[in-house]
Symmetry: C2
Subunit: 158 residues, 2 copies
DNA sequence: TGTTATTCGTTATAGTATAACATATCAACT
DNA sequence: AGTTGATATGTTATACTATAACGAATAACA
């Protein structure tokens, strides 16, 4: 399985498809992708990087919106709550979901050099799955994040 | 593999053994388990729960130490840096390592009801391992955390 | 004992997130 | 169209988490 985010790709397509998918899914499920929520999603999609809430806030302000922190956090709650984005716990930041439209336990690969974040997802027989089967712990939400070097940055480092 | 933390056990032994292990390993490796570092470790060990840096600070203060945030964060840096404790990214908090003495990618199971945190560890064939093998990403640090209900809290919920 | 590296004390400040409440907008029904 | 209840936004204030910076004290070593 190749994670999404590090490989060269047509990113304009990538963004457009994600927005279209979000639109469709919101319509389907009676969710409201309001202008602010949509804009925050666009900002997250603009790069395959984690972006902090206050960076998003700054971008909104530079758009001319008179925005305060709760505005951003509410939009992020919506987006993460419905699987359009993920919180990157390691960075206290957020990233657009690369495979929206399916329930999944995201696996985020965070490059410490270029700051890009790629996403793949876990199959069931992970350490997490195994541990919980053995212990009776019921997982409601799983976070898997790896920090390291992406292929490009490894080449540049040599 | 049964995670450590949820099962009933002799916790006094548990703490004593952990402190002894930390002492031994520090001596072996020329590390200094100073009074403050040791005290912070004791505080973390006192419960199989994640504890916030400022809660630790309050406990130190109630000990009579005139402590400021950097004191705590430095101790935590030491403890996490040498594997005596882990940062719980999901909670911006810290927990004593339940299997110190071996390099490991910890898997933390966080009960959202009783706040206890159990620890197990990942074998190599995790989703992370697989994802990175395929993609060429080099993992330097892995975070795996699951939030949910521990066995005890499931029973109580019914 | 002098030298160097590490740790600690202290002040200030940066960065992240939420509580609380007023206002506005939407959606569904009468 | 007007009423009503639910959802979303605007706004202020504040809580929580973490680090920078620098000097003083302490430990390790020659
Ligand atoms: Zn893209
Ligand atoms: Zn995703
Ligand atoms: Zn114990
Ligand atoms: Zn551990």
């Amino acid at each position: 399985m190749v994670p999404i985010g590090f490989e060269r790709h047509d990113h304009a397509d990538c963004v457009e498809a994600a927005i279209a998918a979000a639109d469709a899914r919101c319509t389907e499920n009676g969710l409201r992708l309001t202008p602010i929520r949509r804009r925050v999603l666009e900002i997250l999609l603009s790069r395959h990087c984690a972006i902090g809430a206050y960076d998003i806030l700054d971008i909104l302000k530079s758009d001319g919106v008179k925005a305060q922190p709760p505005l951003v956090y509410r939009a992020l709650d919506f987006l993460t709550g419905h699987g359009f984005a993920h919180r990157v716990e390691r960075l206290n930041a957020f990233v657009a979901c690369a495979v929206p439209g399916q329930r999944h336990a995201p696996v985020l690969l965070i490059c410490r050099t270029c700051a890009r974040v790629a996403e793949t997802h876990a199959e069931d027989d992970t350490a997490l799955g195994r541990a919980t089967r053995d212990s009776g712990f019921v997982v409601e939400r799983a976070v898997m994040e790896a920090e390291g070097l992406c292929p490009t940055c490894q080449e540049n480092a040599t």
